[in-house]
Structure formats: C-alpha cells, structure tokens
Amino acid sequence: MNSRKATAVLALATALALGASACSSSDKTTDKGTGTSAGTDAALTQVVNKSDKAGGTVSYEHSDVPDSLDPGNTYYGWVQNFSRLYGRTLVTFKPAAGAEGLQIVPDLATGLGKASADAKTWTYTIRKDVKYEDGTLVTSKDVKYAIERSNFAPEALSNGPTYFKAYLVGGDAYKGPYKDKSPGGLASIETPDDSTIVFHLSKPFADFDYLATFSQTAPVPQAKDTGAQYVKHIMSTGPYKFESYDDGKSAVLVRNPMWSKAIDPLRPALPDKITMKFKVNGVTIDKDLLAGTITVDAAGAGVQPASQPSVLSAANKKNTDNSYAGATSYVALNVNVKPFDNPDCRKAVQWAIDKTSVQTAAGGNVKGDVATTLLPPSVNGYSKFDLYPTPGNKGDTTKAKAALTACGQPGGFTTNLSARSDRASEMAAATAIQNSLKAVGITVNIKSFPAGKYFSNFAGVPDYVHSHGLGMMMMAWGADWPTGYGFLDQIIDGSAIKPSGGNNLMELNDPTINKALSDAIANTDSAARTKAWGDIDKLTMENASVVPLLYRKNLLYRPPSATNVTVTQAFLGMYDYLLISSSK
C-alpha cells in the first residue's frame, strides 16, 4: 500500500537525514561551544537546549501511580530522581550529562562520607544552613530519624529498600521509631552534634556513599511525621514544596521560599512550577509529548511500542534519546538442573544463541544492544569483553556442537525455558532462543508464568526449578545503585540463593566469585573496587551460567519546549529531573 511504502521511504530519508544532521550538529557544537544543539541521542552526552532563563512550568505525566512520593517510602527509580526536587539527601548524583552523571557529590552533607579504614564506620557532616519549608533548621537527627522510619517500620512504610537495615549494626533487632519509643533510637546511627552523623556497619561496605544517595536520607522532622500519611504533607528541603497533593491523581509543586541558591550549589531550579498527573494512558502521554503539551513522561522508561513508529518518524526522531536503562536481560542456566551441571552444556547454549535474532524479536535495536557481559555499560565497573564471540552475534553452530560433544550430549538434549507471560518482549525473546537452539539439536519447551509470581512461586524457588526441570530462565536485572556491587550482589552471590523469591536464578554459589565480591566491597580504594567488578563479571561469564542477551534501552522523547535536558545514567537512563526546565 502507498502509505506503507511512504513510511519506508520516510524511514530511509530519516536515516539519511539523521546521519547528515548528526554530523552537522556536532559541527555546530564545536562552532558555538554551547552544546545546545539538538539531534538524535544528543541528550545522552550533553545538556540539550541549554538555558538559564528562570520561569515556566514543567509538566509531568505518568501512566500509573508511584508507590509513594514520600522519600522514605519508595523504591521506584523515577521517584528517587523526582524527590530530589523537594528532599535533599546526604549526597546525590551530579546533575550532569554523560558518564559525569554517575559521580556522587555532596548535597545536604558538606562532603562525601569519611570511611574508617575497615569501611565499617562512615561519618558525614551536614550543612548548617538548610531549612525546611516552615523555617525550621535541619539537623543530623532528622536524617537519622528519616532512615529509621524508612528502613525499620514496614508496618507504616513498607515500599522502600532496606539496605540500611541489612548493613547497620543491630539493624535486625530494632523495631523502628513508631514501635520503639526510646529516645536514643537505633544505637548504630550516632548524632554527636546537630551537624554530624555517624553510621556503624556490621560488615565492611565501601559503596556506602551510594546508599547515602537514596531518597531515604532526605531529612524528616519527627514532630511533623505522620507515618504513612506523611506523603500528604511532605516537609520540603529542596527548591520546591507541595502546593497540592491529590493521592493517586496529581501533585503541584511551587517554589520553596526557604531555599536559595546560596545554600544549594547543585540545583539550577529554573521552573516556577512543577505539575504531575497520574494514571494517564501511556499512549496519551506519548501523544501529549509529541504535541508538546507536557514536558516529561515521569516514568522515564520510554515510549509505548504503539507510539514507536510516530516517535521515530522523520519529524520527531531528532528529539529522541535511546538511553541505556541500566539493566541487562539474560538467560539464567541453573547449575543444579541437568544437563547444565556440566559447564560444557552451558557453553553450548552460549555459542548457540543467535543474539541478533533475540534483539529483533524483542523489539529491535531501540529496545536494546546485544550484550556480551552481565554488567550494562551505564554501571560503574563495566568492562567490555566477549568470551563467546560469534560472527554478527548470530551464534556459532560449529562451536556449539563441539561444546555439546564435550559435554557428552552430541545429539542435543531437551530442556525447559521459563518466561513471564505478560511481558510480550520477553516471550518473543524466548521464542527466538527456542528457534536458535533448535538448530543445534537442543529442544526447548517454553513455560510461561505470570510476572507477579515469577520469583515468589516459580523461577525464584529452587525446589520448583529442580522438580520441574527449569534449566533455563529468562531474567532481567537492574541495579538499585549503579555500581558493580549494586548490580551483581543480588544475582550471583551464593548468599542470594533463597528458598523463595531469590534472584540468583543460576543458583551460582562459586567460592571464588563469593570471595571476590566480599573482598571488593571491603576495599575503600574506589579505582581498585571499580576494576574488580569487571573481573567478577568475567569470572561469571567463564562459569557460563549466564547468557547475556541485551543491554536494555529506553526510547525517550524530549519535546522541543523542554530545556536543559540530559539523560542521567544514575537513574536507569531517564532524564535528570533536577536539571530539566521548560520554555513554556
């Protein structure tokens, strides 16, 4: 049909035009030296539409509701990013373009954490000039209280991660500030004076600064805390405070008069107003973005598949950014399910899978790049290598068959592959894997399970996996904080094997890998630590129980009215909400 032909022609024209504009835009950049020129993927490496004009409204829309906007009660990446507008954490990620965005910089604290030599004691000094929106001065006790309520009181605030509980001394015994009314609170967080806070950890943990970026360290005044209801009257320490908050529907933020640039070097805080709407249909959000009536899709996970053709059309593609989502999808080969107890059988799968086919099936290159390592490129510690290189990433039948022979199954074997039935692209990837393994004689039966019960009842339950012969399991993983440890700890460490709900689907319990992980996290030398994550990644790939498929990517769209737009790698490849402003 004509229109379809036209689309193809348009696509080709777009590709050519983009190629041309990419060159010209980089030229422009060097000419002006401002870094403001737009273009496809421009916001991945620079701040697009740079502006220092104050005023305007940034409007967000979200297709769902957040777990909570309370900084102490959220696990969502986008709320971690967004809450920095009204909550200052001890330290945070630098609002900057490219890899610079992975740097940690002081925010409420005056400097990064000072660690003891054994990485078990961490001390922060906080600024003496930060006030809440009602004018009360922020003290270190408020930070201590915020961490206590967010990590230790699941009866009221159950959504957030509980890393502080896991690492602080006595964390397992403390019952939280709502139940335990003792004035001292948790003994392992000390506040010797109003500007000092000291954390005592039960084991060495050199990534502690990353925990201190969590929204959970944003101060909360105990006198104003109403537990689960606090979300309705959050006390702001950032440049914006809540003018209105309608649970599950909308929120409006306006300037906080107690904040000034003098006490906050990080935030440009250009817009006068920020609006947020929840429960807007995903495709509607994309249409609003294209029409320029809103500034950002708050979820930051990219446009809907149905909108992809119009977003990628010639007129719009220059305003898209295809960012790394900080997650890798992979196949976990369970080392306790035959024949994958034999490393050569695992290697046969490594060689046989046509990753390009998987990529096409999962939605093409805008959905992800072919992966050869477990760590994605946007995580501190990523090192590029490929232990099982095949031409065009299309798999190597000869090498796969040789590996099959080495493992004593020259004719192939039959196994099961689990996938989440309600994730269309995961099911499609599984189908592509099934097809490429068929070529070497491995018969794969796909078992699909609902995503909500995938870890609690099926793939995350070793007993179920063994008794049902789930040799292969589709998996995707993103880190809670962007370092090798934040990424790897929960998926390859032997201690992460749980009777139910675990994420170490391979049941990988290799003493070398376990030791390498615990050694590295105790190392306060950050360069050595960062290098170690790449080495551990390599050890995992040598074990061959993980077949990386794709580094996930988001297809983001920035309307031309959005200014100061850049992708932050620290928050799963969404735009940096501290920087973004609007010409509208």
């Binding site: 193809a8 149905a306 053709p309 390009t356 086919s357 309600d422 039966n445 699909s448 049902h468």
Partner: protein
C-alpha cells in the same frame, strides 16, 4: 415451541409403511423431522453459505498439516531478514506480502502468516469444539434432570448454576493454566495446554446450556406425550432420555453453533492474557495477542488472524441462525 415438530414426527414415525403398503413410496412418503428441517434449511441461502464455509474450515483444520507440507509452508521458520528492526514491521508493503509469503510475515520473527493462520486453525477449532461439547454434555444432563425432577433437585442444580455463573472465570482460568505448566494427567506440552483450555472454557460455560435445557424441560414435562408415557408405567430415566431428550435436540444444536464462535473468541482472550497456547505453536488468539502491541507499525499482522476469527465466527453464527429457523420455524 416444539409442538408442530413433535406431531409431525409422531405421525411420520408411527407406522406409515404398515398401513400404506403397496402405494408408491415417493408419492406419499412421510417426511421425517430431519427431512423437513433440511428442506427448510436448503431454502435459506445465507445459512447454506455459512454451512459451506464451516465445512471448509473444518476441512482446513483437519488437513492443516498435510496442506502445509504440500505447499512447503513452515509456520515456525524464521525469516528475520524480512523484518525492519527499527520500525517493528516487516519490510515492504502490506506487511511484507510477496509470492513467497502471500499474507506477509509477522513483524518480530518474519514467520509466514499464511502458514501460521492455517496452523492456528486446528488449534482454535479444536479448542472451541471441544469446549462446546463439554459444556453441552454437562449442561444438558444437569439441565434435563433439574427441569424434570424439579423440587429440591432443581433447587440444588439451579444454585449450582448460579454459583458457576458467579465464578470469576478469567481469574480461575489464569491460575489453573499457570499452575498446570508441566505434565499433568499423563499429558505434556501442547496436548496438555489444549486439554486445559477445553476444560477451563467448557467446564465453566455449562450453566448457560443448563438453563436453556432446564427451561425447555419444564415446559415439555407437562405435555401429553410425557403424561401418556408416564401412565403407561415409564420411569424417570426412560422419560428423560427417550421422550424428552429427542425434543431438546433442536435447541441444543442451535445453541452449540452459537457457542462455538464465543469459545473461539474466549480462546483468543485467554491467549491474549498469556495463558493460552505456548509458543512457538500458533493459534489465532495468540497471533492477535502479539499483534495488538504492534498494530500501528504493522496493521496487517492484526488483520490476518482477525479476519480468520471474523469469518469463522460469522459462518458459525449464520449456520446457527439457519438451523434455528429450520428446526423451529415458529421462532422466526
């Protein structure tokens, strides 16, 4: 409602041969219920067309595998070189139509759509027919018992129907399909999935049939021929299955042809929710499911299985309407 058919059948079936022996058969031949219905049915051109399409579809479903091998169609062969990885659509116009792939290819794997529609036909029809038969058997037996015996038997069975109708069928279908992933009842893989689908769809749809049959039975059991049988000493089971059931054939047959298309759509809905047939096996519902996400990029992918379902449902409905008119002219 069934009165004229009943009398015709009684006259025709009584003893015409004995009384009218010697007369040319063709002149005075008594016409059976079936023959009369067939005559009426044949006059209804639309219904005949529906019937022909249904027969063709059944032939297609039964002969799917031989047809595929004769024409060299492979529903599971990948042709990803025919797919544009950026636009999530097949290269070329009309969803990648070509002589090699007359209906185009699917946008993720480049699998031939014609082959997949043919391959999907037997799954969809088998599930729909199987489920219809299952719900008919349960519905008819329980409905006729409830209607004939009445009293507490009727109350118990009717409440049971209410319970089943109130059951959150989709939730149950999802959980049962998810929990029966592996071998069960000595079955595995595709046969198991098909049996599970037939069971889930059929077992929870019987009350609709049950209510219709119960209502018919209620009116029939007061009729003279039933009283006559009873006065001659016939017992419950005989009356149920020899007197009542034959008179219920018409509504059962009609309702079945209308239930089959509903079940085809239900199979599609279950596949849409991801608890239908496991990949790579194609089914019409499964094809629709994956097409939904990509309709803007590749409308053809949705149109092909959509048309297949549309034509099948329409043909069964026309056939059902025609059958009803033929078997039960007063309802016209």
């Amino acid at each position: 409602m069934t009165a004229p058919i009943e009398t015709t059948a009684a006259q025709a079936g009584a003893q015409p041969e004995a009384i009218l022996s010697g007369v040319k058969k063709s002149q005075i031949e008594g016409r059976s219920l079936g023959q009369i219905a067939w005559l009426r049915f044949r006059r209804d051109k639309v219904a005949v067309a529906g019937g022909i399409v249904v027969i063709l579809l059944v032939l297609l479903a039964v002969l799917a595998k031989p047809i595929e091998s004769i024409f060299g169609l492979d529903p599971n062969a990948f042709h990803q070189d025919l797919v544009d990885p950026v636009l999530l659509a097949p290269k070329g116009a009309w969803g990648g139509m070509s002589w090699e792939h007359p209906l185009g290819v699917d946008p993720q794997f480049g699998r031939d759509l014609l082959a997949r529609v043919i391959e999907g036909s037997w799954v969809s029809l088998l599930v729909a027919t199987g489920a219809t038969i299952l719900s008919n058997v349960i519905g008819t037996v329980l409905g006729v018992i409830a209607g004939y015996y009445g009293g507490w038997v009727d109350s118990v069975i009717s409440r049971m129907m209410d319970t089943f109708l109130a059951f959150p069928l989709l939730l149950f279908a999802i959980s049962i399909s998810a929990s029966l992933q592996d071998g069960a009842f000595g079955l595995d893989g595709l046969p198991l999935r098909i049996c599970v689908l037939i069971f889930v769809i059929g077992f929870f749809n019987w009350p609709y049939m049950g209510r219709i049959v119960r209502g018919q039975t209620l009116s029939l059991r007061e009729r003279e021929f039933v009283e006559a049988a009873r006065s001659l000493g016939a017992r419950g089971p005989f009356i149920l299955f020899r007197e009542l059931l034959p008179n219920l054939v018409a509504p059962i047959l009609v309702y079945s042809t209308l239930l089959i298309p509903t079940n085809i759509i239900f199979e599609a809905a279950l596949s849409f929710l991801g608890v239908g047939i496991a990949p790579p096996q194609s089914s019409w519902g499964g094809m629709l499911t994956s097409a939904i996400d990509l309709y803007e990029a590749d409308p053809q992918y949705m149109i092909v299985p959509g048309l297949a379902i549309f034509v099948t449902v329409l043909a069964f409905n026309l056939l059902g309407d025609g059958l009803r008119d033929a078997l039960d002219p007063r309802s016209k």
